[in-house]
Amino acid sequence: MPETQEKPVEMIHLTINNIPVTVPKGTKILQAAQQAHIDIPHLCFHEDQRIKAHCRLCSVEVIGRRRLYAACSTECWEGMEVHTDTPIVRSTQVSILQLMLANHNRDCLSCPRNQNCDLQKLCSRFNILRSPLPSIVKIGHRIKTNPSIIRDPSKCIRCGRCIRACKDVQGIAALTYAHRSKDIVVTTAYNKPMEATDCVLCGQCSLACPTGAIVERDATAKVLWAIQSRQKHVICQVAPAVRVALGDAFGKRPGAIATGQMVTALKLLGFDKVFDTNFGADLTIMEEGMEFLDRLKNGGTLPMMTSCCPAWVTFMEKEYGESLAHLSTSKSPMMMFGAVAKTIYPKVAGVSPDDIVTVAIMPCTAKKAEIQQTQMLRDGKQDVDYVLTTRELIKLIKSVGLTFGDLPESDFDSPLGEATGAGAIFGATGGVMEAALRTVYEKATGKTLEKIDFEDVRGMQGIKEATVDLGSRTVHIAVAHTLKNAAKLMKDVESGTSPYDFIEVMACPGGCVGGGGQPIGTTRAVTRERIKAIYEIDKSLPRRKSHSRSAKKRTPCCTRITRLCRRPMSSEIFPNSNEILLSFSHVLSYNEARNLASITECKKERKISDEHQQHPQRVEQLHPHI
């Protein structure tokens, strides 16, 4: 076989601050400088986004050229002599920062991004001790029309990162520039509230924003109030993607698994019980997997599409209303968990359902809206009371002064904290599909699945496909992450020509590990590390199939659970076959129920006296921004 001759990459030789650097042709100055261990300041540049060259903060001097060059957008050329710290460069960068500051609402001390703001960091780096320019910022109301995302235009530096995230990652373009010159703003079409546009509240814009212009709607104060009120029994569930991201904020390497310390921190925060959303994920697999088999057997609407991701479901509702029948009727793992926590759990725990407060810790801003959707309410009440994003949890942990890195590890509480590896991988793109296949295969064929890892559906490729032989028939599956990729699949689904039987969609890049509620600094590279960690967790667990859970007995509440797990949007409750009833028998066996009751007996005595009990109204007064 003749060897294919690869064209050798042309190498470019240049100097940066007199340091010789050799880079492949096409490399930009910003990346070349990293080789010389120089971090050229930048704001609009984002490693996952296309280059904008708007902020001009990365301007550098090139010997022999009159004007400065933007390091982010200028390709290196042979013999180029770059200087990144001459008086001209420095004074330009300081001037640009001062110009930004003059048009920036500098209430940093009470900003949600305080100490986590790129602009703040750069001002510190350049030792901006004073701003000689008069402030010209227009301070208006913060835009808080939806439960997920708050915008504060007075903090916006018009870098365009949110616009690119919305348009290039999600393909939605809910945010855009409007007007020009000094009036240019980042806004929605016709200045509508975000939720009234095509926005699905995925929060990728809040992740991309370098300042406090787009942030999640903070629920920490409400959660703290609930925790501290004596009569409330506050339980939390933690999504699989949180444990591999939380460590980032506490100096751990990206993708570090911090499950044990996270659980300890949550217990120390005062949650009465710390449970695992993976439990809900296992329920989802049972529901969704069985639904898929039923659709296959009885000629239901195919391809079936997953319904775990609220941003994706909203996307379907907003863009593909005609195709809603393709969506699985299962609730998301969080909502399934919430339903169990508000109905069955109170009985076995001996707590009044009215006293239960359920908190979900999610990598997601869309979840904040999902819990309030009318179709998710039962008797007008929420199954999940509050959603905290990973970012908010970090704030809570910091606020109580826990030294996270030194915390001992502890386990989730039983039994709603027990889950399989199939639940764990929900946090990564392809995870739901793989988890479903593990169960569907065995249920359909009656055989034991030997090769449990479905490598085809793993990884960061935009759209992944695979075929699985279920004996009676081969099913074609596809996995998409980001709504831009989902839209590609939807073209065929809409026209009825989709070659697939089962499609998983996650709105955020990489799945929930790259979610819009994850710590600031979540990039694709970081997301990849988290995905690896997710599969490590899966491998380490003794049970890796959702249907292989411990308990064996059938319980009378099974039917109820199935009803609880269904999205009310489907007109009919999914027919409960015996098989499904059986498959649910593990959920709350009598043994487990007894176990649960015994756990709740040792509910810890609170030290807060009645006089100091805060009234809910007081919380609103104390935290008007909530």
């Binding site: 330009t92 110009l99 010159s181 000094k182």
Partner: protein, 418 residues
């Protein structure tokens, strides 16, 4: 001094609504000649005549064509920049109005040289009244087989489209212009990719000013090398200039390079009421300024001589401001223009324009401090060296030039600047 007729030689000689009339005065013979030539030779001919782009950037046009024709790619595009947004600049309007067929012919020649399939004329929104004229010219050229497929039997296909934006100054900038034609907001983008590689609809694009293009047919037919007899060694030929401001008869003149500024003003009837000239700005709002001294007035209008007194040819606009307008009022007016026309994407230009406008107000009111004066200068410098596009780079040209020419105006506190 008299104005000359090289580029304007067809003006008034034919009925601009009739292609037959144009052909009677020799129309399309340049195209017939061009298609017998090699494209590279045409580019060389332009280079030989040392033609610099007439839009304002003054880039060597022969070189531009030579580079553009070597770019590989399908469906290449020629764009004629008829945005003419620079203040005091209206010479392209005269070329469109008086010689529309010559422009179409020039575009076809450019298309032939570049191997392009489409030509776009991006005409500023304010010239809407000339749309019917150009559309008619395009239609007639098509019916005579000068546009369409297999032009002049040479197996060469080319079409011309007319497009108008919404009237933004920044759309004269190449990348913003392209975005505007594409139906996007007219805001410049960073380069690379350069438009010659990936321009309109991501196709290789060659962008030329109306005047630059219009020159090509005349040069092709200029066998006696009349063009080269005009001008100086470094500034060959003639130039269309538009004189505006406080002159008796503002207008467009074709002058040989080397005409003294004093004579240019005389062509426009002299300064109104014979007043003293406060300042002169060449090249439109983005141009620099000079005082109306004898030294300046005696400077020949060439690329090199203007440069020696820190002025530029730029778009060909010449603004004469007499003593009734103070330097500060002039700068404020100029600044108002840029504050309005900046696209708002890049920080230095967006924020810088706001602050400089405020500082100029203070300068006018006599309340500016030494520190603020220094800040105004440094922001202007930052804008010119670090902005995203040419607009931000040149917006403060007049302020920076004025601060050198009229230092007495830039003083803190209650200076007297009548």
């Amino acid at each position: 001094m008299e104005s000359v007729k090289f580029l304007t030689q067809n003006f008034g000689r034919y009925d601009t609504s009739s292609i037959g009339s144009y052909m009677n005065v020799g129309g399309f013979s340049a195209l017939r000649k061009a298609v017998t030539m090699d494209g590279e030779d045409i580019a060389s001919l332009i280079a030989e005549n040392n033609v610099k782009g007439r839009g304002g950037a003054e880039y060597d046009m022969g070189r531009k064509w030579s580079q553009a024709r070597k770019v590989h790619g399908e469906n290449k595009v020629i764009i004629c920049n008829a945005d003419e947004g620079e203040t005091t600049t209206f010479k392209d309007r005269e070329l469109i109005k008086n010689d529309p067929f010559n422009l179409i012919e020039a575009m076809i020649i450019a298309g032939y040289v570049m191997g392009a399939t489409d030509g776009y004329i991006y005409m500023r929104a304010e010239y809407a009244c000339y749309r019917p004229l150009l559309l008619n010219a395009i239609r007639q050229a098509k019916s005579y087989g000068f546009l369409g497929t297999n032009i002049l039997g040479r197996g060469f296909d080319f079409n011309v489209h007319l497009y108008s934006g919404a009237g933004a100054y920044v759309c004269g900038e190449g990348t913003a212009l392209i975005r505007s034609i594409e139906g996007k907001a007219g805001r410049p983008r960073m380069k690379p990719p350069f438009i010659k590689v990936s321009g309109l609809f991501a196709r290789p694009t060659c962008l030329n000013n109306v005047e630059s293009l219009s020159l090509v047919p005349h040069l092709l037919l200029d066998e006696e090398k009349i063009y080269q007899r005009y001008g100086t060694e470094n500034s060959v030929g003639t130039k269309m200039i538009s004189v505006a401001g406080n002159v008796e008869k503002p207008g467009v003149f074709e002058i040989p390079f080397g005409t003294k500024i004093r004579d240019i003003i005389a062509m426009a009837g002299g300064v109104q009421g014979g007043r003293r000239i406060q300042l002169i700005q060449t090249g439109g709002a983005s141009g620099k300024v000079q005082a109306g001294t004898d030294e300046v007035l005696d400077t020949p209008y060439t690329y090199e001589d203007l440069q020696s007194i820190n002025l530029t040819v730029g778009s060909g606009g010449v603004l004469v401001v007499d003593e009734r307008t103070s330097v500060i009022d002039f700068l404020r007016m100029n600044q108002e223009f840029f504050s309005e026309e900046c696209c708002g994407q890049c920080t230095p230009c967006r924020e810088g324009n706001v602050h400089i406008a405020m500082f100029l107000e203070k300068l006018k009111n006599g309340t500016i401090t030494e520190e603020e004066l220094a800040l105004m200068g440094s922001i202007a410098e930052v804008m010119s060296r670090s902005s995203l596009c040419g607009l931000g780079e040149t917006a403060q040209n007049s302020l920076l030039a004025a601060s050198r020419v009229f230092p007495e105006v830039f003083v803190a506190g209650g200076a007297d600047h009548a």
